[in-house]
Amino acid sequence: MSDDKITLEIDGRLCTAVPGEMIIAVADREGIAIPRFCYHEKLSIAANCRMCLVEAEQGGRPFPKPVPACATPVNDGMKVLTRSKKALDAQRGTMEFLLINHPLDCPICDQGGECELQDVSMGYGEDVSRFSERKRVVKDEDLGPLIATEMTRCIHCTRCVRFGAEIAGLRELGATGRGEDMRIGTFVERTVAHELSGNIIDLCPVGALTSKPYRFTARAWELTSEESIAPHDSVGSNLRLHIRGSQVMRVHPRDNEAVNECWISDRDRFSYEGLSSPERLTEPLLKRNGQWQTVDWQEALHAALEALQAPGPDQLGCLISPTATLEEQYLLQRLVRTLGSDHIDTRLRQQDFRGDAADPTFPWLGLPIAELEQQQGVLLIGSDLRQEQPLLAHRLRMAALDGATIALLNPYALALNHASLQLVAAPPALASELRALSQVLGKPVQGATVEISDRHRQIATALQAAGKAGQGLVLLGALAEADPDYSLIRALAAALAETAECRLGFLAAAANSIGSRLAGSLPHRLPGGAAPKRPGLDAQAMLTDPRQGYLLWGLEPDRDFADPSLAMAALRSAKQVVACSHFKSAALDEVADVLLPISAFAETAGTFVNAEGRWQRFQGAVAPAGDARPGWKVLRVLGTMLEFDGFGQNNAREVHDEVAHACSGLAPDNRLSDARALTAITERSAPSAGALTRIGNLPIYASDALVRHAPALQRTPLAESLAVYLHPQQAADLGLTEGDQVRLIQGAGSHSGSGSVGDNAAAKEARAPVVLDDRIALGCTRIPAGVDGSEALGPIIGPVRIEKIGA
């Protein structure tokens, strides 16, 4: 395509460009700075701020007026002057207009020191203002707990409006009124409710939209900045942490086109608040005679070692949060395995491990994240994607806007901001739905199918067409992974993908779910992905067949498991529980014997492997809270105290290198070792008469302990609380209406896979209000997991009984 290139001159420098590119894009590439406010690479061109005016000529003929660099396409032989007298005069003129109605309250503005308006205006050194009329004052709107407004400062660049329309897919902010009276806002004052809303804070070139939690807490020049990686989903967004002293004051995105572009989710932006939660565990604690006592690290470590050795190898189980770093997971498995146990797992929300033997070694998204946008047909199975992986949802939205067919198969319909084809079925029927799709393509799989509808045909043929073009994808999400028939669903998805010539991909749920595969922190995987001689017990088996001793890492046992009641019962029955944790909690208080404070996100160096298999290392940016220690160091000391080999690393980097060495030559690959055979797995029994299937989705702000402790996020409308979402028809059948209080019973033994658990025989009970929602499939009820009140419940996907209170 080299003959498509043209050359032009900007400020005397010869540049090459593609016809149709805008002057500003070429200049940016060449490092020639042109001031701008409304232009943004990722947004449509508005050309409204008029700050980027430059002088240009074509074929020796100067353009009669200064032209906007952001909206003027380049031509061969064009000459552009960005700093000529004419250009500067035009820019200075715009600057004056922008400032006349601006409050110039920089000393009290949160944007002070990093304001594009301030920066650019300095460059023009305009004389004192000639504007002596009254300035415009604009009423502020309350946009909710995340975004603070000071709309008098707004310069009407409409970046925030375009972001809403184009990126978020939700037009909440608009520009109402006209002329001088044009106002940016929601017009009716409503909370901006979108998982990416915080990005408008970055986009806003002035201090009109700022971070509410950060508001007035620091000035830009007091902050230092450190790079980091976001810990809440498997995108691994690149972050910049802004730090004062030993405190993270705010979080910004760091551009990485391949991963997060220039965006981050609100979860990644505001979760840092949890770091300074009063609930942080800041000192080692020992339970003596039922009483917690603060001890020094030495004593705590000795107690921990005793507790880990006492049960004997087969009686020790290790359960790890999948957000633990690669280094932590690696050292944990080394510790536990050297102690003689293979009972280690991070798949805390999985219920069905029948497919473990067929597991790919290095499962992944199936393609690089950025390529999601180029897919022409995607089937998402069991995923509430906007809640699980906000930025991957954004990528798929881009694909949808480009004409891709996005199909979904879920137990409840999702509210999406793009066109989609949704199949909604209660969990026992998900498999039959998948079989129906395979059948449409002429490759029936054994087992029941649902009746084939037009929608099935539409989806299957779209997938096949996309597959033929090499742009088809079948993705499995967190709801699929939590399903009691995950192995079957996965096998059927693989079979469908093969038939439709689509790629198969996994939406790894947590920041380091894939890291577990590489670090070996799974019962059937050693570092580098090799299989141990005999696999240990998986996360579920360790609980249904309780161990006498447990090592817990970075988790809240009543929130982070597929079956919190089962987990708590098993932990209660154990003799020794060592918990390394970021937070205190009643549940840990109850079941643990030793509590070791470990460093949380931003406090430790480490590595996450994201959904696309990208290794991303980061450094600790702030000191751990109180007396907490970096996890890898705690593990190193434990190993050394036991005089085990392989704990002599001097720094996190050395740990990383060991894992990297073990993984050398390993490439991501999603092939199941025996997919077809797995399709024959029998479905677990449908719920007994009168029971519904609970769908325990994990709401976006309940995903992990850090997020759950971040106050501003918890105040947003996206933070769900416990409720029973029922299809109106289902509710009517049950004699329930909106707002009724009901008792939820997830009884022991109702889960076909569970064994006998000592004191778990009693039914568990929780209470919640009924919410009618016609997006829920009949036969099930959505009852969120991970939220207050959900601790008392059983399996996130499994039978539940609902009884009206007072009936």
């Binding site: 050309a47 007026k65 715009t94």
Partner: protein, 429 residues
Amino acid sequence: MAENQNTVCFRTMHLDARVRHTLESYRSVGGYRQWERILREKPDPDQLINEVKTSALRGRGGAGFPTGLKWSFMPRSKPDQKYIVCNSDEGEPGTCKDRDIMRYNPHQLIEGMAIAGYCIGATIGYNYIRGEFYEPIARFDEALEEAYAAGLLGKELLGSSIDFDLYTHLGAGAYICGEETALLESLEGKKGQPRFKPPFPAQAGLYGKPTTINNTESLASVPVILEKGGQWFLEQGRPNNGGPKLFSVTGHVARPDNFEIPLGTPFRDLLEMAGGVSGGRALKAVIPGGSSVPVVPGDVMLTTDMDYDSITKAGSMLGSGAVIVIAEGTCMVKVLANLAHFYAHESCGQCTPCREGTGWLARVLDRMLAGQGRTQDLDLLDNVAGRIGGRTICALGDAAAMPVQSFLKHYRFEFEYLVEHGRPLVEAA
């Protein structure tokens, strides 16, 4: 004089006022003959466009762009749907000609739009009429009904393979929608905010499809051009300034009215037709092309002819042909303040210089009129206007700037007097 008045857009004017807008009346002056001929003979559109080029018809909406040339930019061979859009948003202060075309001769506009559609390959047309025009809208809609009923609009017209559907779309009170791309935005159900160009409407216009936008008068002139020939039309006016044109003469004249007269008619004659300056006063100034163009001192106007080139020579523009006559005894600062308020009120608000600058100008002028003026305000006005003009997305910015600069140029002493004495010069006189 009378024999070359009302020869094109107003050619039904001599008919009985109660029926002159009907299909029957229009047919009686030769209406729809050109459209029917096209439907029968399917002439080469280029041949028709050439006829329009020969006529030297220049856009009557204000910019004066040659209509035939504009049509030739349309990518006719593209398979896309194309659109012809008529700009009947008439809102430029002083301009009231399109309203009368729709009230008195709506069918000619319909025929003109159909022909234009044929020339540019558009099978759908929209007439964007400002929402306040209740009476003209009703007239136009009635005419549309008649034309549909007569088989002049619709599908496979007169058994040909030619389709042309025409709809009205109503504005709701925004001068800026007269700007052609704001008009398109408005047609697309949005705020009327002008688009930046490129791309031009001929490439990506309404709904992203190739679109031609013309003023009501431009389009209504077309049937007569085809009937009498481009050469005839050209000869009605002057070289490069073809045809007669409608002039809305308003302000301080005895008989304000619309006059369809040949381009090149001396201003003096036009003023006479309008009964001269009202109240026997002397002529002070004229804004010769709608409120957006520079003001011209009366004595200069009295020696100027009414055509595009002559008016340009006099330092202004013919614009929409709205001739605003200002008599001696009028405070020019007050007139300018009125104009400034208009533009501040009508700015769409999207681009910085216009959004911020128009209000600034209006406020400074208000302050001066309130007796709070300062000497430096004169330069300030001039300089602020200079920082708006030529730097905005659409020409409203220029329209707001040009009057300021011209008023200061010609009537600076009135501004100075006001600043110095705190009251207008005309009151002192």
